[in-house]
C-alpha cells in the first residue's frame, strides 16, 4: 500500500520536474526554442528521468530482494531453543514466522514452551524489520529523487545537449527489457538442465536415450520409488516421430497446394475470403481438435477398420482380419491425421507468404515466354520458393513434435516402439503431462524424468527451428 502511494508520489514529482525543466530552459532562451540546443521537451524529460529513474530502480530492487534481506536479518541472532533444532526444522520455524507475519501458508507445527516464546519474539522482530525496511526504503527513494533532481537541474541551459542524453536513456530502457527477456529464457533452460542433471544421476543418460522400454514406476510411498522403473525413451520418441510423419503426410501436400491455389490461381475476391478464414482455423485451440479426434475421427476410423477386418476374417488374410477387428478408437493414425488438419492452415499461410515473396517479374517473364500457369509454378515459382517452403515445413514439424493435446486425447497412453499407425502410441509431450499431473514427490526419478524428456525435446525442436530459420533466411537474401 505504502509502496503504491510512494510510486504515485514519484510520478507526480517527475511530472512536475518535466514541466519545471521545460519552463526553465524556455525562459533561459527568452521563449524562443530556436535558440535551444534541444527542444524544451527534451530538457523536461531529462530532468524527469533523473528524478524518477534512480528511485524506481531502488524500489524494484527492494521488491525483488526485500524478502530475502528480511529473512537474513531475522535469522541473525537465533534463540537458544531454536539453534538446538536440526537445520531442516529451523527452516520450517523461520518459514512459519515469515508466513505468519506476511499472511502466507503456515505449516501445522505447534510451537509451545521455550519454542513458543521464541516464536512470539521472532514474530515481533519480523514485524519490526518489515516496518523499518519500508520506512527506510521510502525515505531513501525520496532522497534519491531529490538528489537526482538536484544533480540534473543546474545542467539545464540553452546549449545543454539534452536530446542525445534522453536518447541514451531510452536506449537503456529497451536494452533492459531485452535483457529481461533473454534472462528469463536462460533461466528456464537452466532449470531444465539442472533438473535433468539430477535425473541423469539416478538414470544413466545412455539408458535413457537408447533404452527400449518406458515404464516409470508409480510411487506409492516415498521410499519405494524407482527401484525398478524403466526409463528408455526410445518408444516415446518413436511415437512422436510416427505421429509427426502422419501429420506431415496430411499437412504438407494439402497445405502447400492450398497455398499455391491461393497465391497463383485465386482472384482477389476469393483471397479476401479464404486467407482470413485460414487464419481463423489456425487460431482454433488444439483441445478442440483433440475432442474432434477423440469423439468423431476415432470412432469413424475404428468402424472403418473393423468392417474391413470382418470382411477378411475366414479368408486368406484371416489373421490380418482378426487384428483389424481389434483396432481401438485410439491410434496413431487418428491423432496424426487430426494434427495434420490442424497444421494445414499453418503450412498454407506460411507457404502463401513465401510464394507471394517470389517477384512478380519472374511470373511475368515465364508467362510471356508462352508457359502456362502450371508450368510457371512447377518450373519457376516452386524452384525459387523451395528453400522457403522447406523452412515452413520444418516449422510445422517442430509444432507437430511439441503438440500435446490432440495426442493425449486420441493416441492413447501406451509407450510402444512401433511404426504401425493403427497401434495406440504415446509421445514425449503426453508422457510429460501424465508424469507431472497429480500429487507427486518432486524428487523421484519418475517426476524428474519429465525434465529429461523436456530437455531432449527442447534440443530437438531447437535444432529444427535453427535449421528452418537458416533456410528461410538464405532464401530471403536471394531476392532482397
Amino acid at each position: 500500500m505504502l509502496i503504491w502511494i510512494a510510486l504515485l508520489g514519484l510520478i507526480l514529482f517527475s511530472v512536475t520536474a518535466y514541466t519545471a525543466g521545460r519552463r526553465k530552459v524556455l525562459s533561459a532562451a527568452g521563449g524562443r526554442s530556436r535558440l535551444l540546443h534541444s527542444l524544451p521537451g527534451y530538457h523536461g524529460a531529462y530532468l524527469a528521468l533523473w528524478t524518477a529513474a534512480p528511485a524506481i530502480i531502488l524500489l524494484l530492487l527492494v521488491g525483488m530482494l526485500g524478502a530475502q534481506v528480511e529473512e537474513l536479518i531475522l535469522r541473525g541472532e537465533p534463540p537458544a531453543a531454536v539453534s538446538a533444532l536440526p537445520a531442516s526444522t529451523q527452516d520450517v520455524f523461520y518459514n512459519d514466522v515469515v508466513a505468519t507475519a506476511t499472511g502466507g501458508q503456515v505449516s501445522q507445527t505447534v510451537y509451545d514452551g521455550a519454542l513458543g516464546d521464541a516464536f512470539a519474539a521472532k514474530l515481533a522482530q519480523a514485524h519490526e524489520i518489515h516496518r523499518n525496511l519500508i520506512t527506510g526504503v521510502l525515505a531513501a527513494a525520496l532522497l534519491m529523487a531529490l538528489a537526482g533532481a538536484a544533480i540534473a537541474w543546474p545542467r539545464l541551459s540553452a546549449d545543454f545537449a539534452a536530446r542525445p542524453r534522453v536518447e541514451r536513456w531510452v536506449a537503456a530502457l529497451f536494452l533492459a527489457c531485452s535483457v529481461v527477456a533473454v534472462l528469463t529464457t536462460l533461466g528456464i533452460v537452466a532449470s531444465l538442465v539442472w533438473e535433468s542433471w539430477r535425473f541423469f544421476q539416478a538414470v544413466p543418460i545412455f539408458d535413457f536415450l537408447f533404452g527400449l522400454t518406458w515404464d516409470p514406476q508409480i510411487a506409492i510411498r516415498a521410499d519405494q520409488v524407482a527401484s525398478s522403473g524403466a526409463f528408455g525413451a526410445v518408444p516415446l520418441f518413436m511415437g512422436t516421430f510416427l505421429i509427426m510423419m502422419i501429420a506431415m503426410t496430411v499437412a504438407a501436400p494439402v497445405g502447400l497446394f492450398a497455398a499455391i491455389y491461393l497465391s497463383e490461381y485465386a482472384g482477389p475476391s476469393v483471397r479476401a475470403v479464404v486467407k482470413p478464414l485460414l487464419e481463423i482455423l489456425a487460431g482454433i485451440p488444439t483441445v478442440v481438435y483433440g475432442f474432434f479426434a477423440a469423439l468423431t475421427v476415432g470412432p469413424l476410423f475404428r468402424g472403418f477398420f473393423n468392417d474391413i477386418g470382418a470382411q477378411l476374417i475366414g479368408g486368406p488374410f484371416d489373421s490380418l482380419g482378426l487384428y483389424l477387428m481389434q483396432v481401438q478408437n485410439q491410434m496413431a493414425l487418428v491423432a496424426g491425421a487430426v494434427m495434420g488438419i490442424m497444421l494445414i492452415p499453418f503450412v498454407s499461410s506460411l507457404s502463401d507468404d513465401i510464394l507471394n515473396a517470389v517477384p512478380q517479374s519472374l511470373r511475368d517473364g515465364s508467362l510471356a515466354m508462352g508457359a502456362t500457369r502450371s508450368e510457371t509454378i512447377t518450373r519457376v515459382i516452386m524452384p525459387a520458393a523451395l528453400p522457403g517452403v522447406m523452412g515452413a515445413l520444418m516449422l510445422a514439424v517442430s509444432r507437430a513434435v511439441g503438440e500435446t493435446m490432440i495426442v493425449t486425447m486420441a493416441a492413447g497412453l501406451q509407450a510402444r516402439a512401433t511404426i504401425n499407425p493403427l497401434d495406440t502410441v504415446t509421445t514425449v509431450t503426453v508422457q510429460i503431462v501424465t508424469l507431472l499431473t497429480g500429487d507427486q514427490e518432486f524428487d523421484s526419478p519418475k517426476t524428474l524424468s519429465a525434465f529429461g524428456l523436456g530437455l531432449t525435446l527442447f534440443l530437438i525442436t531447437l535444432m529444427l527451428n535453427i535449421i528452418a530459420l537458416r533456410i528461410v533466411q538464405r532464401y530471403r537474401e536471394q531476392y532482397d
Partner: protein, 284 residues
Amino acid sequence: MTLSTNPSSSLKMTAQSDDALAAGLSAAARPVPVGKVSASDVSVFYGDKQALFDVSLEMPDRMVTALIGPSGCGKSTFLRCINRMNDTIPGARVEGRIMLEGENINDRGVDPVLLRARVGMVFQKPNPFPKSIFENVAYGPRIHGFADNKAELADIVESSLKRAGLWKEVADRLQAPGTSLSGGQQQRLVIARAIAVSPEVILMDEPCSALDPIATAKIEELIDDLRSQYCIIMVTHSMAQAARVSQRTAFFHMGAVIEAGATDEIFTNPRDSRTQDYITGRFG
C-alpha cells in the same frame, strides 16, 4: 489486312528518309507500311478506368517501332495488349482488334499461351529465372518441345546466345546461375531467352532504362541486328535512343496515339504541337 485509319499516320514522304528503303518499298511512294502487327481501335480498361482510347497503329515487320510519350500515357499497356499479358492482370479488359499476320489475336479461338510463343517480350528490369544460364535460354524450347534431343537443345541455346551477343562472355560458365551476371548481361540473357523460341515479334518495355551507357549501347546494337529478322516494338523514354534505333515512331499522350510515322519525320517535322513539345523536352 487492315490499314490504319489514324489520320496522323497518313501518307507522306520526305526525301531524307531511309525508312521506306528499309521497308523494301520504292522511294517514289511512301505509304504507311503494311503492319506485321496492326492495331485498330484498341481500348483498354483497368476496372472502370480507361487507360487506352481507340489506339490504331501499324507496326511493320523487319523494323523497330518506338513508342514514346510521357509517363503513364499507356505505352506499356499497349505493349501488353500485343502478347495479351493484360489477360493476367485482374480487372483488365481489352477492346478492339489487333491483327498479327491477318489473325485477330483477341479472337476467342486464340490461345494466349501459343500467341506468346510467337510474340516474345523483354521487360524493363532484367528478370532471369533462378536457374543456370543454360536453363534460362532452354526454358522456352523445353516447354514448347522445340528440341528433340540434348544436342539440338544445346544448339538452340548456343545460337540464341550468339545472336544476343552474349555467347563469348558466358560460353565457359553456362551452368552458373543467370542471376550472377551483370545487369547488362542479364538483359541480353533474357533477350536470348526470348529469341530462343524464334518469335515473330519482340516487345521491349524500356529495355535499357536499368543499364549504364555502355551496356545500353550494346543492347541498341543488338536490337539493330535483330531488326533484320523480327518485328520489334520498343517503349523508350530516351528520344535519342528512339532516333538511333527505330525506323517508325508513335507518340502516345493520355492514352491515345497523337502522331505516328517514320522516325526521322516525327523528329524533324512533327505535325502536332504536343509531339513537338514532347520531343524538344518542353513537357513529359
